[in-house]
């Protein structure tokens, strides 16, 4: 018997129920299949938002948003304020964690198709919230007034130049004032601590309201939730959330203590020039803009590509209308999703390793195309395996189907596919890795690429096994 069913929690519940009808009015029960961390990524992001609010308020006691004192007040917080270094670093790392969690939340919802009717509005609102989180990070990056932040922010503002002239003047005035450094800093400060957080808060309330209307989705596999009793919000879901939150916050606190923020030099008109590089969450865009084809006059084209991609994701629920939600039965969308993740990861790492370098067109096509090809080929193999599972699915049958992937060189077809993937992936990986040390990929880079590839293949095999097992469970239950 659960210890949660008796004792102090029950007494607290009874007390609150008598006074304010606590369990009657509070959030709806949750289906038991949703009691896993991946179903609570949105809630963890909200927790991160409030943690950011709390640490942000603590820093507001000391931070002065002027060009002459922004840097020194930040240094003062780090060096002299009790727990200042941990709080400042926690604020930064929690922002990073929030971006990762929001991205995972987005992609998890994408793969399980929760954006379909009747939850289209939740997807749209969530997408806007994700964009605001990125702008939050962008505006916050400038506030310590470091030379790196100032240079990167000015480059970011410069991209507005692709807008129509009147719109450009208006938007630039809105976010950066009349062009003086002090106005730019102060407006970023206002956006960071007032405009964006309060907008985000309103959208959180709106999304929570919509969630309460629609509730959690059924499993994407199509398995029926069955007769499992819904889990009550109080105390079960609340305690579950507290448990996850404890681990999550502990991880960020410990990271903040072990790796405290080292502030780059202060920005000034006489500061030595630096290689402009954005914070990691914008590195993939930065890398795209470094492609030769997008350099100079091609810049609007790159921004148009990025904007189109974002708009496609934004309007996804309005053109992806089929009822099927199982990712294994949606090969096109699943493949596109995995390609998006792979490209973002590769572009981010590549961007970090090649600061300030222009990427030749052939190299760009090779890496971006190679990554897409490898992912598509690996997923094609996965879906082929899935198609073969139409008969009775037993563990022996699954093992039989998996065997040809475990020993690919005993079958001609899979061997050729395997070798083709191997070649493309090796060249792609070697190109990326080789950029770090030498202009041309060397044998060490190639070997490293192979190691990464084999690691990925092994991980994929494990994933496939899990997917097949899930499918087996689904067939058995239906």
């Amino acid at each position: 018997m659960s210890l949660a069913k008796k004792g102090i929690v029950d007494r607290i519940q009874a007390f609150l129920d008598t006074r304010i009808g606590f369990t009657e009015t509070i959030l709806r029960p949750v289906p038991s299949h949703a009691m896993n961390p991946f179903s609570w990524l949105g809630a963890i992001a909200v927790l991160a938002f409030f943690a950011q609010g709390l640490t942000g308020i603590l820093m507001l006691f000391y931070y002065i948003p002027t060009t002459s004192e922004a840097y020194s007040s930040t240094i003062h917080v780090i060096r002299s304020v009790p727990m200042g270094s941990v709080i400042e670093t926690f604020h930064l790392y929690m922002a990073y964690a929030m971006i990762i969690i929001v991205f995972l939340h987005l992609m998890r919802n994408y793969f399980t198709s929760v954006q379909k009717r009747p939850r289209e509005a939740m997807w749209v609102v969530g997408f806007v919230m994700g964009t605001i989180v990125l702008f939050q990070a962008f505006t916050g990056y400038l506030l310590p007034w470091t030379v790196l932040a100032k240079s990167a922010t000015d480059v970011g503002i410069g991209f507005l130049g692709v807008l129509p002239p009147q719109l450009y003047i208006f938007v630039k005035y809105l976010i950066a004032g009349v062009g003086t450094n002090s106005q730019e800093l102060y407006r970023f400060f206002v956006f960071h601590v007032v405009v964006l957080p309060f907008t985000l808060l309103l959208l959180i309330v709106l999304k929570l309201y919509m969630f309460e209307i629609h509730g959690a989705t059924d499993p994407a596999s199509g398995a029926k939730p069955g007769d499992a009793k819904p889990v009550k919000w109080f105390p079960d879901v609340l305690l579950y959330m507290l448990m996850i939150s404890g681990v999550f916050v502990a991880a960020v606190v410990v990271a903040s203590a072990l790796f405290p923020l080292q502030l780059p030099p202060e920005y000034s008109a006489n500061a030595p020039a630096v290689v402009v590089q954005p914070d990691w969450y914008f590195l993939w865009q930065y890398q795209l803009l470094k492609f030769q084809v997008f350099a100079g006059p091609g810049e609007p084209l790159a921004l148009a590509v990025i904007t189109m991609g974002a708009l496609l994701m934004f309007f996804l629920p309005f053109f992806d209308r089929k009822k099927e939600r199982n990712p294994m039965n949606r090969p096109v969308y699943t493949t596109l999703g995995v390609i998006i993740i792979a490209e973002l990861v590769v572009l981010t790492i590549w961007g970090y390793m090649t600061p300030g370098q222009t990427i030749p067109n052939m190299e760009a096509v090779g890496v971006v195309g190679g990554v897409a090809l490898v992912v598509a080929a690996l997923l094609w193999l996965t879906f082929k395996l899935r198609q073969k599972m139409t008969g009775p699915v037993t563990v022996e049958a699954v093992k039989g189907r998996m065997r040809f992937l475990r020993t690919p060189f005993t079958h001609r077809g899979p061997t050729l596919v395997f070798l083709a993937i191997l070649a493309v992936a090796s060249v792609s990986m070697a190109t990326v890795v080789g950029q770090a040390t030498t202009p041309q990929p060397d044998i060490a880079s190639l070997l490293l690429g192979l190691a990464v590839l084999f690691g990925s293949l092994y991980a994929l095999l494990r994933l496939m096994r899990r997917l097949v097992m899930d499918y087996q469970a689904m067939v058995t239950s239906s």
């Binding site: 270094s85 305690l239 916050v249 502990a250 991880a251």
Partner: protein, 83 residues
């Protein structure tokens, strides 16, 4: 877990949290921020373990791998803070 030792472990965790809370007052929050953060992390991990045990339906539902991971995390964090 074969026997129901959840109550005893929970008491241990509560005592651990109380001791760490008291120890937090010993550290200087300006010059010993790293130790402060590590102990705070240990508090949160202990709290999560406490909640985990509390919400299990029976002793058989308490996964030893989670308890071991939590215990190792606590030992690691306390070790870091004291070194």
């Amino acid at each position: 877990m074969k026997t129901d030792s959840r109550g005893a472990i929970m008491v241990l965790l509560v005592v651990f949290m109380a001791v760490v809370s008291a120890a937090l007052w010993v550290f200087d929050p300006v010059s010993q921020q790293a130790q402060f953060g590590e102990l705070l992390g240990a508090e949160l991990v202990a709290f999560s373990m406490l909640t985990y045990i509390y919400t299990r339906d029976g002793p058989q539902d308490v996964k030893e791998v989670w308890m071991l991971s939590g215990g190792l995390a606590l030992a690691f964090l306390i070790g870091l803070a004291l070194l």
